[in-house]
Assembly symmetry: C2
Homo-oligomer: 360 residues x 2
């Protein structure tokens, strides 16, 4: 099977360099994917020439570029030939299997959602990303696509996470946790409580609530939350990591002895940094869309973009969308059945009640 991936050659702070470099890194690492660079032809050709790329890239012309600061709705209306729109169209038309972009997050999400729609059984796409933990990696979603979620949305996110963890991370019985402010069932806000009750019934992978400390302890394979909370957690993690690295540098610069010691621990320090290098974790997946779309960080360099390409390849190779759709439809059917049963019970209750029975 040949995987065909479209790459937005115009989006992000370092395009098109980072995009071409990322693709070349993927090829050097053994990727068999067929890459299509989407954007202004002269810009793409100039970059391919500059780096002396020997690989034969396809080019799909898109005459417009959505700026990083542009409002999504406006970009959607006024730029119908943007690299974002053309890339999403390629996926919709089945001409490529996935689209990767470092462009404007809001515009990419809005465009992809408008063009591709969600998978049957899924109401809303979620932004999902791998995060480092003490024991390996954990998938977290939603990281910012949905600021107000219902319990149903959270259940669907849990399901998408479950499929990802079993098919991409190869976890046999992935543990899915609901991000909460305590591990006890009665904790949290209403939406989270209802989602927890529902997940207990419908998912064998659901292990209950998990506190934010637990994300990084490897207690679960998947952490589910609404986009507001997920985004705050993700950015808290980034903020703390960069503050601690800052503190470490200051400590190592404090005295000549510390500076000398640093020379000896430098390889160890590099190994430490590599464990949570954000570039390795680049590639936020827009799960739940009817097509594979991966958002690379706006400031991604070639190494980071390469990892976003890898994420897209894994989603395609492991047929994550087909599996998600199958399980989502099954869940939907179960919920309808449950709803019917519930209505049956309710009508029976009413009958009893009209017979004079008082329900406490």
């Amino acid at each position: 099977m040949i995987i065909r991936i479209a790459l937005d050659a115009m989006g992000g702070d370092n395009a098109p360099q980072s995009v071409v470099d990322g693709a070349l890194r993927a090829i050097a690492a053994g990727s068999q994917a067929e890459f299509t660079l989407v954007g202004r032809e002269e810009v793409i050709r100039a970059e391919l020439e500059r780096v002396g790329a020997k690989h034969d890239f396809r080019i799909q012309v898109a005459s417009q570029v959505v700026g990083m600061g542009e409002k999504p709705a406006q970009a959607m209306r006024s730029k119908k030939d943007s690299s974002l729109r053309v890339g999403a169209n390629l996926v919709k038309e089945g001409r490529v299997d996935a689209f990767v972009s470092s462009g404007n997050t809001g515009a990419l999400m809005a465009t992809a959602r408008f063009v591709l729609k969600t998978l049957p059984g899924i109401d809303r796409p979620a932004i999902a990303s791998l995060m480092p933990s003490i024991t390996g990696q954990v998938l977290m979603l939603d990281l910012g696509a949905n600021v107000d979620c219902t319990a149903d949305h959270l259940c669907q996110f849990a399901l998408m996470g479950e499929v990802f963890a079993s098919s991409v991370l190869n976890r046999d019985n992935p543990k899915v946790g609901l991000l909460n402010i305590g591990s006890e069932e009665e904790k949290g806000n209403e939406v989270v409580k209802v989602a927890g009750e529902r997940l207990k019934k419908i998912s064998r992978c659901f292990v209950g609530n998990v506190e934010a400390t637990g994300i990084f302890q490897g207690k679960v394979d998947v952490v589910v939350c609404d986009g507001f909370v997920g985004n705050v957690s993700l950015k808290t993690a980034e903020g703390v990591a960069s503050m601690l690295v800052h503190f470490l540098r200051e400590a190592f610069n404090h005295s000549w002895l510390a500076k000398l010691g640093y020379l000896l621990v430098r390889p160890a320090f590099k190994r430490f940094r590599d464990r949570f290098d954000p570039r390795v974790y680049n590639g936020a997946m827009l799960l739940g869309l009817n097509g594979v779309v991966v958002k690379s960080h706006g400031s991604a360099d070639g190494f980071a973009f390469f990892h976003a390409i890898k994420a897209a390849e894994e989603l395609v190779t492991n047929r994550v969308n087909e599996k998600t759709q199958a399980i989502a439809l099954k869940m939907q059917a179960m919920a309808q059945l449950d709803g019917n049963n519930q209505r049956d019970n309710d009508s029976r209750d009413t009958t009893v009640a009209t017979n004079g029975d008082v329900h406490g």
Copy 2:
């Protein structure tokens, strides 16, 4: 002015040792406070004897102890002579100026709220704590007292944070930010958007939205959020910090060269650890209550408990509650005035509308 502080001698994993040790550390550091130990007399006397305490502590007998796992509502009903309840009563009766406890968080919050009520003008107390940042310290609230907040609640938290930052942290024009998933005004969920609009009108300290990365960059002095989000952010920070320290230890243990280097950087490493030692940040303040109550971490040792005592002393010395009440009542009056004006405008609008004017 003599400050009188009641200390829960029974609450937490390390009581009464940590409590007596914390008080002795405070005295050794120059505290002039008069301490009252609350709990079972024989337990307290035994501990004072064990450490050979020369200081003359007051003892207030409380015959019951609320366990760390007990449900708050049940503890409130069944344990009316618990150290938590007796401590809160001492504050209410004006016999002490503050109460510090490492006990059951939920039970302490419920008891304190029931006994002390909130300050006039404040609807809900919030859990507030200092956090480390690159440039110093930042106050964050709410960290878990309120899982569902209205815009009004967030505005009141902002106000309490403002008072704390100016009177305890001595920041002349403290910067108060609203935790959000982007710095632009249109970002976030409805509650946060409405709170942002209102804060722009009522607070000169409000600087707009702040992303979670910004907490640790020292961009603001106060970060305001609902208790669910705040708790997730706090625990994310704890989780990331402990994961990174774990990664560092593994890196330093990886080779003999790294181990040797570690010997040289050990003092630097200690300096690094001290910058975010959670014990120094111990002492979550229950702001907005009509009385000063500080929650120390359940696992606090004497050094950590000492810092919780310091937090209580600072709240009392700087008259944070009096100042909060004054500004809260002023804000309430402004809101009422604004509400009246709004109603006037509304009725005028209605008149116009009934005259056939159509509002787009």
